[in-house]
Symmetry: C2
Subunit: 298 residues, 2 copies
Amino acid sequence: MHASLSLKPALDAIGNAIDQRFDRLLPVPDDPRGRLYEAMRYCAIGGGKRMRPLLVVAACDLFHVDKERALRVAIAVECIHCYSLIHDDLPCMDDDDMRRGKPTLHKEYGEAAAVLAGDALHALAFEVLADEATHEDPFVRSELVFELARASGPVGMAGGQMMDLVAESEVFDLPTTTRLQQLKTGALISFCLEAGAIMGRVGDSQRKRLRGYAKDLGLAFQIADDVLDVEGDSARTGKAVRKDEEAGKATFVSLLGLDRAKQQAEMLIDQAIGHLNGFGQEADLLRAIARFAIERDR
Amino acid sequence: MHASLSLKPALDAIGNAIDQRFDRLLPVPDDPRGRLYEAMRYCAIGGGKRMRPLLVVAACDLFHVDKERALRVAIAVECIHCYSLIHDDLPCMDDDDMRRGKPTLHKEYGEAAAVLAGDALHALAFEVLADEATHEDPFVRSELVFELARASGPVGMAGGQMMDLVAESEVFDLPTTTRLQQLKTGALISFCLEAGAIMGRVGDSQRKRLRGYAKDLGLAFQIADDVLDVEGDSARTGKAVRKDEEAGKATFVSLLGLDRAKQQAEMLIDQAIGHLNGFGQEADLLRAIARFAIERDR
């Protein structure tokens, strides 16, 4: 069966679970702050593949971590992902008009509200993780906060985004482009897997395997994005395509050519799945996600 | 003695301590991420009154909390404060050219770098608080993260900033303006005091007093800011003045008049100091800060 088909029920389920939790988490207050909550909801609810939340849940499944605990972390990751998309789409950044098939937040609510909604989702991620009311062990809570802050901060995503800015005026080679993507998208994907290990309280060897999986998956995912940027159409992807090419930025496709880029992605996915060899069928979801990463059309 | 004079040694000491720690925390990497670190340093080092860090240290002094522990939280608060100033100054927000006597970050590094540097400082705050290497108790770490995330997120600072945006098109009355300021600046000031109570592991009654002090101080501080905005000159304050008036926003001065605004600030400071009655001379620094809040000229 085609990987994206076998994954569809899992993607639908996580999409609903995340929407439901954001809906509860973001009730619109009847005062001048209401617009902030509306803007946050506009981005957080009803959009995206929810790939990162699914990875968190799949990693937690490996160690039989309770579903509610996993979903809490999944929400925090998705807060970070949403905030990064909002800020990334701003006119001073990538200047995108469309995202997930609808106008970007600043197009709909204005730039100032977009900056603020991004900031608010950023803070919310850490509030969700650190909340004592969750009855999560305080050590686990603070470890999750620490790892997510590293994954999204200057040594992670924000550092990668700065490299991406620099890439507009310098043409990066393959190692630098790889490093850029490992920070920009890879660090947060790694956190998703790491979260399973933290909550499952597993040892270093299992953690190392998950890190290996995450690294290969993240890179393959990005190569597939670059391929989609060339081959895809914006009606399906829900966002503008061929933007990197226009900006003169190096991509895996421009560096490797289309065919070698696709081969490289496939090789990485085989390698990612190889890291799961020590696990049984409890890792089937992670295997399916890996195959989906390069077979998707959006 | 004039309060700002008696406070000067404490302000100088905290300024140096914070600069030193930011310097260590933000070494510039020799790769394309370097520009991000330079931008973060541009804002974080060598500027501002460091009022919030001083409040953290003063609150920790009440309960004999170790200085290094207090400074760690002070750094986290200043990360949040700096990021909020960077995003606030953006063209799509307040569009300010000068801050702390030098060009604002987006003027010097461009808007995209300013968005990213703000985001990176935001994440860094939580990384600093949650770091296991600090040997802080995990329960304390996650409580600090939770309270700081609330203070800066949609139910705190970000919510207040959204109200401030709405204030450009609606004229707020006194209760709404008070609420706006309690969220926009008051929530983070409250966190500074609360942090002392969390780290000192003190009971509810002392916590309540500190919250009372913070609430009155925060409001008085904002009223004094509004007064400075009318009476001050930009050479001293290091930023543009009379911006609120030009934007047609309600301020405490426009709502109360200059004289009543000053009286109100003085009354609030007396009240703030009153909350400290149960404490001895270990609260002298908090008393001096309260007096300084309305006697400063920047």
